[in-house]
Symmetry: C2
Subunit: 203 residues, 2 copies
Amino acid sequence: MSDVESSGRRGPYAKTVQTRRTILDAALEVFAQSGYRSGSLRNVAERVGMSEAGLLHHFPSKSALLAAVLEHRDDHSTEMFNFFESTGRERLTNLVGLAAYNATIPGVVELFTNLAAESTAADHPAHEYFKDRYHRTTALVTDSLEDLQSRGELLPGVDPKSAAQRAIALWDGLQIQWLLDRDSLDMAEQLKAYFDSLMTEPL
Amino acid sequence: MSDVESSGRRGPYAKTVQTRRTILDAALEVFAQSGYRSGSLRNVAERVGMSEAGLLHHFPSKSALLAAVLEHRDDHSTEMFNFFESTGRERLTNLVGLAAYNATIPGVVELFTNLAAESTAADHPAHEYFKDRYHRTTALVTDSLEDLQSRGELLPGVDPKSAAQRAIALWDGLQIQWLLDRDSLDMAEQLKAYFDSLMTEPL
């Protein structure tokens, strides 16, 4: 507290950022553990030692909190797997790595799977977020496949954008099957098999 | 009514079957139109000119009604596309046809997408239904790919079961992207592109 108070105008802002981050980490844990429907704002507030009213000061609604958790989670994935500073081949390898990592956090996978499905309703609070997210992730994979293509490493006849949409779709569907039955398949291995089927040399 | 009454013991049973079918058709329409969350038992009951208590006599809960709607829907698809009496190649062509047909009934696709995601929770009333459904559909596609393989029409290195799991996963994920943005992709075309990528000759 004293740090914050002594640092003038930037202090309270920095504290707000830190508080939001603490809340988002707690919310992710709560939603991942209890599911997004059962996970309550009160649980999240309790976990960070705050009142529900205090929490609502930072996030005006459960859906606003959810949206922020999703973006927070995306930032985390991006940091961990560095999708930008590498070749297309490296980026796809990183995506397969992310699929393997996701298998260690089933609650988060469950959260995303349920929200993606729910958000297909036009009036859902995360509708625009997911629409935008699919465009972004498709662009990321398209770009990676185009890089492979420019190096002559993509099989003839493969259209990068269409293959990218299939890759993202495949990943979503693998998550459903895996959540229903963890022993049914290996998400990362299946995603890799798909990418390999597009390329002259496997990942 | 008189037919039913005059036909003795089979009569009331036949009437029950017919009533259940009428309810299921109405429930599918209600859930497809209003979504499965907002669609209420009362809406369904009203549509078939029945009280809610009368409806509950046939289906003890909303989740039981949902499960029955899902099975009813599967039966309908199976009848329409005849997945059994044909070669593997014909069966896969029929699946692509089903994907094209689904694009005409977005409410049903939304219902399935949401329920599949929700049902990943072990305590969801449709959990076992979906687990079993994935096993069945995977087996159906595996069998079709094995038939192609036995005719030398599958590319070397393609494992039928693993490719079948990817096909089903792809389909689920395509539905999500399509529901979020109908112009983003053609589900049938994308599914066909995937099957074609496994085969020596396109479908």
